[in-house]
């Protein structure tokens, strides 16, 4: 109950800031443009998924960290009240992550609705984009919180780490994977490769998108390990499971840090 009250204040604060509305508008514009120019085929959904994979981790992490820094006084004020710290944490987290998820869902969902793409394209790909977007939002806001709590007194460090983590997970990590593949290409590296991909949440989300939109290409791969992994429900369920672990881990660490923190 108290969590909800905190949530409510957070929401009011966020919407007063207009930032969140702008964030939703970006998705609205992107999705609208993609559908308008990409046609109602799978191409539009794929482009939206691509933008989502790029933008959500960045915004989620930066905004998560930033918000915790900004609402420091508010948090300290609330801590003076007879409040459970766990309750307070979930109030704060929900107050940021849920509006972000909502902005994404509305921004992407509305163009799909009024363009009618929701009826014409397979329901699985629509659901995939929406669910994956929401999971990624929660995941990366959680990561942002974790970083902010770990470097609570040094904003520059916290935000810097958030930015670098994004750069690492989104680009550099794939570079390392590519390098590994090129270097150890002569060895049976399929299983380690799959494991490597499952470690990075952005890659995980990307592979889930691939499983939906590029199966025909993935099935063209000669290795048995890949085709068995990608060709069955196994791939989807393993990817979903790993994403859930990734969702839980930063939040669990954050709660730990938040409970012990001396503000």
């Amino acid at each position: 109950m108290k969590t909800l009250t905190i949530l409510k204040y957070q929401w009011k604060d966020l919407f007063r800031g207009k930032w969140i509305i702008g964030y939703g508008l970006i998705y609205l514009l992107v999705a609208d443009a993609m559908i308008r120019f990409g046609g109602t085929g799978p191409k539009a959904m794929l482009s939206i998924a691509n933008v989502m994979l790029l933008l959500i981790p960045l915004v989620g992490m930066i905004y998560g960290a930033l918000y915790l820094y900004q609402s420091r006084e508010f948090t300290e004020l609330l801590l003076a009240q007879p409040l459970n710290r766990r309750t307070l944490f979930w109030g704060l987290f929900g107050g940021v992550a849920m509006p972000l998820a909502l902005a994404f869902s509305l921004g992407v969902g509305l163009p799909m609705l009024y363009s009618g793409i929701i009826a014409t394209s397979p329901i699985v790909s629509v659901l995939l984009v929406l669910v994956l977007g929401n999971v990624l939002t929660l995941l990366f806001t959680g990561l942002g919180f974790w970083l902010a709590l770990a470097f609570f007194n040094d904003r520059i460090k916290g935000l810097g780490f958030a930015l670098v983590s994004w750069l690492f997970l989104a680009i550099l990590y794939d570079g390392l994977v590519l390098l590994t593949i090129v270097t150890f290409g002569d060895y049976p590296i399929e299983k380690p490769m799959l494991a490597l991909a499952l470690i990075n949440p952005i890659d995980l989300a990307r592979i889930t998108v691939l499983l939906n939109f590029d199966v025909s290409a993935l099935m063209g791969y000669t290795g048995a390990v890949f085709s068995r992994f990608f060709g069955s429900m196994l791939g989807m369920s393993v990817a979903a499971g790993c994403l859930m672990i990734w969702l839980g881990l930063p939040l669990w660490r954050s709660v730990q840090l938040f409970k012990k923190k001396d503000f």
Partner: protein
């Protein structure tokens, strides 16, 4: 006596004339006076019509050695019980209609078939259902046959224990229309065939190829659908084929191609749809063909073009939402691309003439990386890969410099 002989001769002559003019009709029924097909054929003479009444006939190696018309009435099943061939046609002008042929024998030595047609002319096989035969319809050294509206299914598990649906060998001027083939080794198989027309057939869920086509010049296939076959469709070692308005879809696998072209020359490939295949069109050692007005949608690779193919011309094709548009194995290219629509095209059209102002490079750097290091396929749609691709597009170092469409269309070609 002499007069009597004369009259007898006259009568005999007249009878024979009557027979020539109006053929007799013989009826075979499971519980009638003539109860087996073999008996019926033995009793019939050339040009007769054999009507099979509804029922189940357990017979095999039925040889049709005179021009007959064999027509089934109702549910007529001839069951070979896996003992040999079922129907063997060795005479000209034989017509088989409206029956079902089941269970030809399976063998590693002999090509047992539901219907074997050998050394004949003018055979018609129409509206026949072939169920669970080793080979379905097998034509050897025959010409002018019509194979129409047959339904050919089998459930062979492996390549070795399964034969082809419609198998043609050394035949000429064959018309194959509106058949349905499923679950065989190759749906349709052509070797040394001349001038065949294959139209409106559906060949799906076969173990190897939907159609396997070799050394068969001057053939035409039109309006067929090939779906979910183990290896897709293979067309090899042939000149002057017309492949028009066919559909190739859902062929998934590491060696599955919508259509594989190997050593095909001077042929037309027009108006086909390649949808949802691992590789839409695989081209190897193939020259001087026109590939025009085809649609490639949602394939892993729309076209894999091997560098030993030359002088092919790709015009007015649609490439829509494929993971890779074209991949190749060399920096050399001797083929021409123009006026295609590429959904991955990122250029602009300032003069509004419907043609993009900058050329399109359909070979991505990433497709070359994947060709060399297959596991890197896992990085598809990664931001890093997009950045690498963009860099390569500005300054091609690894991708073939001449494989470009200098006049890419801005909108889909209808």
């Amino acid at each position: 006596m002499r007069a009597f002989l004369n009259i007898a001769a006259l009568i005999l002559w007249m009878v024979s004339q009557v027979q020539l003019v109006s053929a007799r009709q013989l009826t075979v029924a499971p519980n009638g006076p003539v109860s087996s097909v073999k008996e019926g054929i033995a009793l019939a003479s050339s040009g007769d019509t054999l009507v099979l009444k509804e029922g189940h006939y357990d017979e095999y190696d039925i040889t049709v050695d005179k021009p007959l018309t064999i027509i089934g009435e109702g549910q007529v099943v001839i069951d070979g019980n896996r003992k040999g061939f079922v129907l063997v046609i060795t005479a000209d002008d034989v017509t088989v209609k409206n029956i079902e042929v089941r269970h030809a024998s399976t063998s590693f030595m002999e090509d047992y078939a539901g219907i074997l047609v050998e050394n004949t002319n003018n055979t018609v096989i129409e509206n026949v259902t072939l169920t669970d035969n080793f080979f379905g319809i097998y034509l050897a050294k025959s010409s002018n046959a019509l194979i129409k509206d047959n339904h050919i299914t089998a459930s062979g598990g492996r390549e070795t224990s399964s034969g082809n649906g419609i198998h043609l060998w050394y035949s000429k001027d064959i018309d194959i229309q509106g058949n349905y083939v499923e679950g065989h080794r190759d749906g349709l198989y052509f070797e040394f065939v001349e001038g065949a027309t294959i139209s409106g057939n559906v060949s799906e869920h076969n173990i190897r190829y939907g159609i396997h086509f070799m050394y068969s010049d001057n053939c035409r296939y039109e309006g067929n659908t090939f779906r979910d076959n183990g290896g897709g469709v293979a067309v090899m070692y042939t000149q002057n084929v017309e492949i028009i308005n066919n559909r190739f879809e859902d062929n998934w696998g590491s060696s599955a191609y919508g259509m594989l072209l190997k050593e095909i020359n001077r042929s037309q490939i027009e108006g086909n749809e390649f949808v949802n295949n691992s590789v839409g069109l695989y081209i190897e050692a193939t020259s001087r063909n026109s590939i025009k007005k085809n649609s490639f949608r949602q394939n892993g690779w729309a076209i894999k073009l091997m560098a030993n193919s030359t002088d092919n011309r790709f015009t007015e094709n649609n490439f829509i939402a494929n993971s890779f548009e074209i991949s190749t194995n060399s920096r050399q290219n001797y083929n021409a691309f123009d006026n295609n629509y590429w959904s991955q095209y990122e250029g602009y059209d300032l003069d509004k003439d419907g043609i993009g102002d900058v050329p399109h490079r359909p070979v991505r750097l990433f497709s070359i990386i994947v060709e060399k290091h297959p596991p890197s396929l896992l990085l598809l749609r990664s931001l890093l890969i997009d950045i690498l691709d963009a860099a390569e597009k500005f300054m091609p170092v690894l991708t073939p410099e001449t494989l470009i469409d200098s006049q890419p269309k801005m909108t889909k070609i209808l």
